[in-house]
């Protein structure tokens, strides 16, 4: 009895997924963004694929505030906390009212502190998730959980961008489908944008905020390199025609053409010389305080505009166990204008119809004080916000208790957040699976509920 005669469905799927490895990038020349997976062969891992249902968003920009932004001082206004400064909090500790002034913005009357005056201008676009909670009050595990769905470090899982790319492919075949800019160097490091047991096509490409990509810079003038590649491709084509040639050679031929094009396309995307000076100023790129994050925000817009499926940008330094006051002034000052500019730019270009922006941290902070001028971690109730494709603007889902310790309504675990993001992209989180080590894995592990309330 041989398996090719009696192929089970399980076997069929397994051999097709293993087949991703041997076949390759024939797809990468396919430039038609409307190409559907049902038309594309399964040997084109990065070609656009048909989602499970009609998507509300085509791509994501994740604005990650690594270290846990203090919500009580920025965008979670709690009158009870302001009234009870110095008293004992609901789970002990000494309540610390925010020292920053809050006021309401927009028609929704959303509260923001004076630290984020520019982002506050976009209050009516934001869809707040105020009932988030996660599992581990330590950065390494929580950052990894936010990015991969699971905090268990002993089994590395694929990152959410890798899952998205696996599920949807990408629109622009000249650029990587998943780009992460300035990712954390610790707290899981490369795990946060890795492919783990998914094939390597789906890993995130790491770029710094100056646009450096390894091995991207050609070593020969274009004409010389082209002549070298032409010769090399003639060798490859001759090899492909041999009767014992492996299937992957066609993919290798494509990969050299794609690499050649990427050498031009990627720097072009990451170079701002065709941007108006007013745009550069709007993002704060000429101001040292906002330059680095401003560049990240503008790169994110350009990459998204070019069809990159998943872009993550990262600002570290929010772990204010001490030096909360000055630290927040500094950090908020570095992101407020760039993030506001990104939202305005996306809106102005009509990109918010297809692009979803997620803003937030691996967890939140406590309403109580830690030392003289600090706040400790809070995993039981904290906010993030979404803007753009598929979510209700000016809407708030969930809330925490009157002090902002526990999520009490609209509670969403990290798995629920992931389920919701996948849903917005047209993917059913229970169907997006990959077989490894004897079972099917998901981004959402064995949990996850879509927050239907926020869907526009």
């Amino acid at each position: 009895m041989f398996s090719n005669h009696l192929i089970s469905r399980r076997e069929a799927l397994r051999s097709s997924s293993a087949g991703f490895g041997m076949v390759a990038l024939a797809s990468l020349l396919a430039q038609n963004p409307s190409l559907r997976a049902s038309e594309a062969k399964s040997d084109k891992p990065l070609a656009p694929k048909k989602p499970h249902h009609e998507p509300k968003a085509k791509r994501i920009i994740f604005v990650f505030m690594q270290g846990a932004i203090a919500q009580h001082d920025t965008f979670e206004y709690k009158p009870k906390l302001q009234q009870n400064d110095g008293k004992t909090g609901p789970i002990g500790g000494k309540l610390a009212a925010s020292k920053f002034k809050f006021k309401q913005y927009g028609e929704t009357g959303s509260w923001f502190s004076e630290l984020l005056p520019n982002m506050a201008q976009h209050a009516d676009k934001m869809c707040w998730l105020r009932g988030l909670h996660t599992d581990t009050p330590a950065h390494p595990q929580a950052v990894v959980q936010l990015h991969t769905g699971a905090a268990n470090a002993t089994l590395t899982r694929p990152s959410m961008g890798a899952w998205v790319l696996y599920g949807l492919g990408t629109e622009n075949q000249d650029l990587p489908g998943y780009v992460t800019i300035n990712p954390p160097a610790n707290f899981g490091g490369a795990v946060n944008y890795g492919n783990a047991f998914l094939p390597a096509h789906f890993q995130g490409s790491r770029v710094d905020d100056k646009g450096y990509v390894p091995n991207l810079k050609p070593r020969l003038e274009t004409q010389l390199q082209r002549s070298q590649i032409d010769y090399l491709q003639s060798l490859n084509r001759a090899f492909a025609e041999r009767p014992d040639a492996p299937d992957a050679v066609e993919g290798i031929i494509e990969s050299f053409e794609l690499a050649f094009r990427m050498q031009g396309a990627v720097p072009e995307i990451l170079d701002f010389k065709d941007e108006a000076e007013s745009t550069i100023d709007a993002y704060g790129i000429n101001n040292p305080a906002t330059a680095s994050f401003g560049r990240q925000c503008l790169m994110a817009r350009r990459l998204s505009e070019a069809g990159v499926r998943f872009v993550e940008i990262c600002q570290p330094g929010w772990d204010h166990h001490n030096n909360l006051h000055n630290g927040l002034i500094d950090r908020c000052g570095s992101i407020d204008q760039p993030v506001a500019a990104l939202l305005a730019d996306l809106e102005q270009r009509g990109m918010l119809d297809e692009t979803l922006v997620l803003f937030g941290s691996e967890f939140g902070r406590q309403p109580t004080t830690q030392g003289e001028d600090g706040r400790d971690h809070n995993i039981t109730g904290y906010p993030m916000f979404l803007v753009g494709a598929g979510v209700k603007p000016g809407y708030t889902h969930g809330q925490s208790d009157e002090y902002g310790v526990h999520a009490v309504e609209g509670r969403m675990h990290t798995n629920d957040l992931h389920a919701t993001l996948l849903h917005l992209l047209g993917l059913n989180h229970e169907w997006l699976t990959y077989p490894y080590a004897g079972r099917d894995f998901r981004l959402t592990d064995v949990a996850g509920t879509v927050a239907q309330e926020i869907l526009a």
Binding site: G93, L155, F197, K217, R219, L220, L224, P246, D376, V446
Partner: protein, 871 residues
């Protein structure tokens, strides 16, 4: 995604939900088993706890001492065991003894700076009285208020699987099949293969030509290409046993152990640091790596090899008159169990330990048995007859074993906090002891600097900013850490002599309890240490109750009568030679894995392994000398139609080189490969403190790897710091058990081959060595490179194409140089543009243009698809 696969995925999604989820098909009893059978007093105590004590703990203590916040001082009060075990200072509660209960001691503390709660108002007298009363009455804590889950009854499924699933049945001795084409087979292996082909109406294709076969077997056995001399010798050897001569030479070479050792290191998820979360180097890991390579070269039988890695320390204890060298070797072997990923930032020791045990169980069971036993950590296995009780029977063995990797858990630690030198394994090599006086002096210095740090830490003075923006106290912390490092440099066992990361018997030998849903604190029934019950191993010895049981486990795992381990080991060898295993899921022989493509052949090969005394080399020799191995990769239409995946082995399946092989082959071809084995790596210079992906340590490790010309297996493999010359070509994911490397095609590979320093440099080296060949003309040079890179002669047409490329590139290059010179003159030196694109103009004369053309040609060959494939 095609519609049928989408449907399949949907169903598999549901399967995924079933697996691991207790939601489906599981009875939720839901009742809190508090009141059942409890007498009235106990019920009253529980009521008192729920109305008075728990709310108090929640509202006044949780902010700093619960699982959801940081358990300051490692104390948590949201879990009874946590409270009993206590934190750094001792047990939080001693039932019946309020004076000994630190919870109360600290609440009643006179000194305000030590009194609990630290923040917020002190407890009221009434609250304190309640706590005292509760502790004096025995500190009753209601049994788990967690919903109690009862597992789905899987006993029927399990009974069926035990008796029916192929992999759990003993090896079957099948009759050697009769074949029509009787003159084809060289070996009985071939008869099994041919019978399958004939049944499908196929014949084997022709044998591979000699050049192809030599390149194939040389890579397969050593991970390197054949040298020109080796090719010539084989082509010139017209004797009957020419191929056998080659195979025996390769099996005897030290490069054999480097290739086949690397394969086991993949399975053993070898890495030189703790990995994600907080990355602490394992500086002594290389000793285990070298143990593996040497053992493979010495052809230590696979059963013995596995036994050593699981119980080397116990084997050494049993062996009378054992030499120091052999004892060290056996202790080093246990690195297999110690070198896994660890989440050192874990707050709770018990979770840290249970996670590490799970990691060990996963590596052992997937690597040796091809079973995914880890699934049973939280619930009975959904696909295989592995109840949770079996998992914890194994867990007890590992819980009775100290994971002596040299690290400890701590949340939010820094510096040397994670380093635990006592937990490393000492080898016999030792240096004279350090001067006691010097040790005392440094101990004093540590005390002083620590006291100074403690005094200033967190005070307004300490937190004040210095002109450079750093807090004043930082200096004090650094002084303390520096003193610690100095003392350690003198007393560290690692500095005093050789140590390894390994395992040894734990201080406490005991069975362990089932954990509900895998949560370390949720204790269920204690299960005796033991083995899996999925299959029978008739000669299994009972666990030695005085020891952890690792020795008996190691014997049980590798018994000739174990139905899985010989099959798994033989299948891995098969997969390495034929591309796909007879079981294509080499780490999953369970019910959710693939069925064997040829079950009789699998058992035949497994039995061969056993009969050969579990000798790796003997089985490999038999397999590569088979006719099947020597087949060409040229398929006929019939083969492609009837057997597209080549599961019947009517032809050879080409394979892409692994990342290690590709780098090694580039170095071998350029003539730069340094074949000496390495002692240590750049990571053995690292201290056991956290390293970041982009810090100085990582940069130093990268710099070492970039400069090294040793074989890839000897490069430092710190998790998360993959050598740049390996990372594009699917290296083993170092955090995971890997039985088969991926072979993806991604554009970063092409960019690496076109633009990386490594490939450029090696193309230059290759050019130099080819142009220096004595008395050669250009045709001979082209032929020499073809031999080295592709293992074959170039056709006349290929030679002409090469020479015409070199010529045209050279003239193009000269034009470009002239154009650049003009541009530089026009724009002026040092302009950004000319800096950016000055590749060509750095070379100035016809000789250098020629060199550039040969370099470009050589690089093209290294980048070509043919180079990275063996056929």
């Amino acid at each position: 995604m095609t519609p049928s696969i989408a449907t399949e995925n949907r169903q598999r999604g549901i399967a995924a939900k079933l697996c691991g989820s207790l939601a489906a098909g599981v009875l939720l009893l839901g009742s809190i088993a508090v009141t059942q059978g409890a007498d009235v007093d106990e019920q009253a105590e529980h009521e008192f706890f729920e109305t008075k004590i728990r709310p108090l703990l929640v509202s006044r203590c949780y902010a700093c001492h619960s699982a959801e916040t940081k358990p300051a001082g490692d104390l948590r009060v949201d879990d009874y065991n946590g409270l009993l075990r206590g934190g750094k200072s001792g047990p939080g509660v001693v039932p019946g003894d309020d004076k000994a209960s630190l919870l109360l001691v600290r609440i009643l503390e006179k000194n305000e700076s030590k009194r609990m709660p630290q923040d917020g108002e002190p407890l009221t007298e009434e609250e304190i009285a309640d706590l005292v009363r509760w502790v004096q009455a025995g500190a009753k804590w209601p049994a788990s208020a967690e919903p109690v889950y009862e597992a789905e009854d899987l006993s029927d499924l399990y009974a069926d699987l035990r008796s029916d699933h192929w992999a759990f049945q003993p090896l079957a001795a099948a009759a050697i099949p009769q074949v029509a084409q009787a003159d084809w087979p060289r070996d009985d292996i071939d008869r099994f293969v041919l019978a399958g082909l004939e049944a499908a109406g196929l014949s084997p294709v022709a044998d591979a030509d000699r050049e192809t076969l030599l390149r194939r077997v040389t890579f397969d056995l050593t991970g390197l290409p054949p040298t020109e001399a080796e090719i010539e010798a084989f082509l010139a050897d017209s004797s009957e046993n020419a191929f056998e001569t080659v195979v025996d030479r390769l099996l005897a070479s030290k490069e054999f152990g480097e290739r086949w050792g690397r394969q086991w290191l993949d399975v053993a998820r070898y890495g030189e640091s703790t990995g994600p979360s907080r990355n602490i180097p394992y500086p002594h890991a290389w000793r285990y790596r070298n143990y593996v390579i040497e053992s493979v070269n010495r052809d230590v039988p696979i059963n013995r090899f596995i036994q050593e890695q699981i119980a080397g320390d116990l084997i050494a204890d049993q062996s009378e008159g054992i030499s120091n060298e052999e004892r060290d070797r056996l202790l080093t072997a246990t690195g297999f169990l110690a070198l896994g990923v660890k989440d050192v930032n874990q707050r709770f020791k018990i979770r840290f330990e249970m996670d590490n045990i799970d990691e060990q169980i996963d590596a052992v069971t997937r690597g040796v048995l091809g079973l995914t036993v880890s699934c049973a950590r939280c619930h009975d296995h959904k696909f295989d007859p592995i109840p949770t009780a079996d998992y914890y029977a194994l867990a007890g063995i590992f819980a009775s074993t100290e994971n002596a990797a040299g690290v400890r858990n701590k949340m939010g630690g820094s510096g040397l906090d994670y380093y635990n030198p006592e937990s490393l394994i000492r080898l016999s090599i030792e240096l004279p002891p350090p001067s006691e006086e010097e040790v005392r002096r440094l101990e004093e210095k540590v005390r002083e600097t620590k006291a100074a740090w403690d005094a200033i830490r967190g005070t307004p003075e300490g937190l004040a900013k210095r002109p450079n923006g750093q807090p004043v106290q930082r200096r004090f912390r650094l002084a303390w850490e520096e003193a610690q490092a100095e003392l350690l440099a003198l007393t560290d066992p690692a500095a005093r002599g050789a140590v390894v990361h390994g395992v040894r018997e734990a201080a406490e030998i005991a069975d362990t309890a089932i954990r509900y849903r895998g949560e370390a604190e949720k204790l269920g029934e204690v299960v005796p240490r033991g083995y899996l019950t999925a299959f029978e191993v008739p000669d299994a010895q009972p666990i030695n109750r005085q020891q952890s049981g690792r020795l008996e486990l190691a014997q049980w795992l590798t018994s000739d009568l174990n139905p899985l381990s010989p099959r798994v080991a033989a299948n891995l060898i098969w997969q390495n030679l034929f591309g796909t295993g007879l079981v294509s899921t080499a780490d999953n022989f369970g019910n959710s894995g693939a069925s064997p493509s040829n079950p009789e052949l699998l058992d035949f090969v497994a039995q061969r392994l056993i009969d050969g005394g579990w000798s790796r080399k003997t089985l490999i020799r038999q397999l590569v000398l088979s006719r099947t191995y020597r087949l060409s990769a040229v398929a006929t239409e019939d083969h492609l139609r009837i057997d597209p995946a080549n599961r019947l082995l009517g032809r050879h399946t080409p394979r892409r080189l692994t990342s290690d092989e590709l780098r090694d082959a580039v170095l071998a071809v350029s003539g730069m490969l340094d074949r000496t084995p390495a002692e240590g790596t750049a990571s053995s210079e690292l201290r056991m403190v956290e390293m970041r992906d982009n810090g100085d340590e990582a940069k130093a490790v990268h710099a070492h790897s970039d400069a090294s010309t040793r074989r890839s297996v000897y490069l430092p493999l710190v998790r998360g710091v993959t050598p740049r010359a390996l990372e594009c070509f699917d290296p083993a994911e170092q955090t995971l058990v890997t039985v088969k490397r991926d072979a993806t095609t991604v554009p970063s590979q092409a960019l690496f081959l076109l633009n990386s320093d490594f490939v450029k440099q090696q193309a230059q080296q290759l050019t130099q060595s080819i142009l220096e060949l004595p008395a050669a003309d250009d045709v001979q040079r082209v032929q020499a490179t073809y031999r080295r890179a592709f293992g074959r002669a170039a056709s006349e047409q290929e030679v002409n194409l090469a020479l015409s490329f070199i010529e045209s590139f050279q003239s193009l290059y000269a034009q470009q140089a002239a154009a650049n010179a003009n541009e530089t003159a026009a724009v002026g030196k040092g302009s950004a543009q000319s800096q950016e694109y000055q590749f060509v103009s750095t070379r100035a004369n016809a000789e250098s243009y020629k060199l550039a053309a040969w370099e470009a040609w050589h690089q093209s060959l290294l980048a070509a698809a043919e180079f990275r494939f063996i056929r």
